[in-house]
């Protein structure tokens, strides 16, 4: 034990030795490589890089046409006609056809398959998608058609401004119907039952392995622009092990934990990004006492978010004042960040405010204790929960907080059954639009676990759906956001940090905040 010597200040070697190979460490296992079932972000990364769709996202977070060579819009933007590239081929030599998309998207919408992402065609505005998912219309009625082998016509219910970005997500990837049917149950279970339309293909892999090797797909239409020949994804859940792998030179890109940040802050390979999740407390408004807004506000004001991020987490996370996270959406007219425009003083640390609200709440309710639920999927939650407990008990004299740690599935179960008081939870957007977060607070939404209901909020959300004017829509959503945060029904705490070690000579491999985290096609080594 005496050999554990701290403060070993060796700087990790700066660049990869190898010019065309990188190893990226991921912390989630691969659950499936079937595009519509791939749920964990490692899975969607692999799918997106091997089964390219109509779009990809470039290094500057901009959607770029991928398998589609061009797109024409008509009918007030409600019909989009995509032309599939002539040279788009599957790795088995089959041409990629429009039908591959129709087939794939119908599977995605099929309520029987119940893909976790089956809300996405609806979110993209594709015609009838929501009704199909709800079982009201047959799958065939989905607004996609192949009018020729290379012509894909998509019909929309309404225009969705961020549709291109959405279509870059892995679940919209094409599926070769013939191959799929031949592979049967084995489809995507291992690398010999997969074919690829994207820049990479998978070498010697089966579901359950904790390493995936991607090698350049020679049949890829844009193969000449793919610079890195090999990408290895290693799954290591322990960030310290990952850091050691980085130091050993066996990894080139690893995620760090807050504790490791203090060790690597000065390292030239260190990159401190923010992540795409907002961490917040969700109150169960069905619980007597917790429906009292003053109580919730008192709790919110007693928490010093800055202290959490700088002293406890230390991972570059930032205090959060908005449900919509930073860097996700910009004001279409001013270019200001949505998160900065949503302001309220409820989330500033203020013992005085807290006391004021608490005194008010004490008169209205006799709730003097509640349980704070959190799960064990990240070690930091326990620390944050312990901190909240201490703060609340300090500033709200007479209030007692009980901590309860459960498995994540148990927490979500309690949330969906509303058998909890308050829970520490987080939400990440599936696409870069405020609705990706706000829509779940609509009173009818299944994911509205706090059971918060506000008719004005609902109305604003419905309006925004129908609005094609981006500026106007932005305003509606901002207003809805403010209603939500002023209610303190789900006080945000912080937006998580995403500190990483990345070899300094790797270029153009940003981590995208929403959707698929990595597109390796654009990356290169200098």
């Amino acid at each position: 034990v005496g050999l554990l010597i701290t403060g070993c200040q060796k700087n990790s070697s700066s660049g990869t030795k190898n010019q065309d190979k990188i190893t990226v460490v991921q912390n989630a296992t691969v659950d499936s490589l079937d595009p519509i079932l791939a749920y964990q972000n490692t899975s969607s990364t692999v799918v997106a890089n091997t089964a390219e769709g109509l779009y990809t996202i470039d290094a500057h977070d901009k959607p770029q046409l991928a398998l589609a060579s061009k797109v024409e819009t008509s009918n007030h933007g409600l019909t989009k006609t995509f032309t599939i590239r002539e040279n788009a081929k599957w790795s088995n030599g089959d041409p990629v056809t429009a039908n591959d998309f129709v087939f794939a998207w119908r599977r995605l919408s099929d309520p029987k398959i119940a893909s976790a992402f089956n809300f996405q065609p609806g979110a993209a505005g594709i015609k009838n998608a929501n009704d199909i998912v709800a079982g009201k219309k047959p799958v065939k009625s989905l607004g996609v058609k192949a009018t020729g082998p290379k012509t894909l016509v998509v019909q929309l219910d309404h225009v969705v401004p961020y549709m291109n970005k959405l279509l870059a997500f892995s679940d919209f990837a094409p599926v070769n119907q013939k191959y799929f049917e031949k592979a049967g149950k084995k489809f995507a279970q291992d690398s010999s039952h997969l074919i690829y339309s994207g820049p990479y293909q998978i070498k010697d892999w089966k579901l359950g392995d904790n390493t995936i090797q991607l090698v350049k797909n020679p049949k890829y239409w844009d193969a000449k622009n793919v610079k890195i020949k090999n990408v290895k994804l290693d799954i290591i859940t322990d960030p310290e092990k990952a850091a050691i792998a980085f130091e050993n030179g066996s990894a080139d890109y690893v995620h760090l934990s807050g504790q490791l940040v203090s060790k690597y802050r000065k390292d030239k390979n260190f990159v401190n990004d923010v992540g795409n999740f907002t961490q917040y407390i969700m109150f169960n408004l069905k619980k007597p006492g917790l429906d009292n807004a003053d109580l919730r506000k008192a709790i919110s004001c007693s928490i010093n978010r800055k202290e959490i991020t700088t002293h406890i987490l230390k991972d570059g996370s930032i205090p959060s004042h908005s449900m919509v996270m930073k860097d996700l959406v910009k004001n279409p007219t001013t270019g200001k960040d949505f998160a900065d425009e949503s302001t309220t003083n409820l989330y500033e640390y203020s013992p005085a405010q807290a006391k004021k609200y608490w005194n008010k709440a004490k008169k209205a309710t006799n709730l003097r204790s509640f349980t704070l639920l959190y799960d064990d999927s990240d070690p930091s939650y326990a620390n944050v929960a312990a901190y909240i407990k201490a703060q609340v008990e300090k500033h709200l004299p007479g209030m007692k907080v009980t901590l309860q740690q459960v498995a994540k599935k148990t927490r979500t179960d309690k949330m969906s059954k509303a058998t909890y008081d308050a829970t520490l939870t987080r939400w990440g957007p599936d696409y870069a639009d405020p609705t990706a977060i706000l829509s779940m607070y609509q009173s009818k939404n299944d994911s509205n676990y706090g059971r918060w209901a506000n008719s004005e909020f609902d109305k604003l959300m419905a309006q925004s759906d129908q609005t094609t004017d981006q500026a106007k829509r932005y305003k509606l959503l901002l207003k809805a956001n403010n209603i939500l945060i002023d209610s303190a029904s789900c006080p945000p705490l912080y937006q998580i940090g995403a500190p990483v070690l990345e070899r300094s000579n790797i270029k153009d491999l940003p981590m995208h905040i929403a959707g698929v985290p990595f597109f390796f096609k654009y990356a290169s080594i200098k």
Binding site: V1, L4, I5, T6, C8, D238, P239, E240, A243, I244, S257, G258, Q259, L260, S262, K263, N304, E307, I308, T310, H311, I312, D376, P379, A382, N383, A385, A386, Y387, K389, A390, L403, Q404, Q405, V406, A407
Partner: protein
């Protein structure tokens, strides 16, 4: 022949009809105690254990810090800084006080679980072994089935179904922990019940209950104590193991296991977060093991 006396060659006539016992007599307990005291390793371990227990009990009074209240701006201080002997953790809590509190949680878990095991295991083994026949057959089938289920299955599932916490950890240990004890006791009883002194008590008309408690039990005590002592480190380990796979006592409570688990992923950055709980855990385990060994040697007699 220096000092021959006159009567030397006369008969001494020291006829004794009754045997007389001279020499000091030790009770069995004293004998074991003496033998134990001669085992240096075991005595040192016992002292270490007592010191650790004292630390666990007294630390809250010795230190001005609380094991649970976070002081985020004091987080991750190195040992010695600001009077934190073992440093502070990610929430700025004093590690020394936390280790002490964790030790007491670990020890309590182990002791409670083992005490219950002791009661269940011993009585199960006694009954099964002494009455034999169909009762034994039936009871043995139960243990046989229970013991074919890997322990880890029972423990993990139980802790998952119930909510993680002291109660469920202890229950889980109870369900599986007693089997070993019952086996050992049963084997002993089977051996002892055919021993001549038990048969003799039977032929004198002693009741079964009395035979079990006054003839058999005292003779199995040595084995029981040894097994008990050896199961304590097992229980501590089990608790630490549960903590390690994320099923430990819930925060802000900390056991040594949960502390090690927390510190584990920071070992290269803040090694002291894991060194101290590991040190305490290892010392406790080591001490119990050595004491158990010493006790066994003392009981079996060398």
């Amino acid at each position: 022949m220096t000092n021959i006396e006159n009567n030397d060659f006369e008969f001494a006539h020291k006829s004794e009809t009754v045997d007389h016992y001279s020499g000091k007599s030790y009770s069995y307990g004293q004998l074991v105690w003496h033998r134990f005291l001669r085992n240096k390793g075991a005595v040192i371990s016992a002292v270490v254990l007592i010191i650790i227990a004292l630390i666990a009990i007294l630390a809250p009074y010795l230190s001005q810090y609380s094991p649970t209240t976070p002081y985020p701006n004091q987080s991750n201080l190195a040992p010695g800084v600001n009077g934190h002997w073992f440093g502070t953790d990610n929430l700025g809590r004093d590690i020394f006080v936390r280790v002490a509190a964790g030790t007491s949680v670990s020890l309590r878990v182990a002791l409670v679980a083992m005490a219950i095991d002791l009661v269940i295991g011993t009585s199960y083994g006694l009954i099964s072994g002494y009455f034999g026949g169909k009762i034994d057959l039936f009871m043995q089938r139960i243990t046989e089935i229970l013991s074919t289920i890997p322990m880890i299955i029972i423990v993990t599932l139980l802790v998952l179904v119930m909510k993680p916490g002291l109660v469920s950890i202890i229950t889980a240990m109870m369900i599986v922990g007693w089997i070993n004890m019952s086996r050992i006791v049963r084997a002993q009883v089977l051996e002892l019940k055919t021993s001549e002194y038990v048969l003799s008590a039977k032929t004198m008309g002693e009741s079964d209950i009395k035979i079990i408690f006054s003839q058999i039990l005292p003779n199995t005590l040595g084995q029981i104590i040894t097994t008990f002592m050896l199961s304590i480190p097992n229980a501590i380990f089990l608790e630490a193991f549960l903590a390690f796979i994320g099923l430990g006592v819930p925060a802000p409570l900390a056991s040594l296991g949960t502390m090690i688990n927390d510190g584990y992923t920071q070992a290269i950055v803040y090694p002291y977060m894991v060194i101290f709980p590991v040190l305490f855990l290892a010392l406790i385990m080591l001490s119990f093991n050595i004491i158990a060994d010493g006790l066994r040697d003392a009981i079996e007699g060398s």
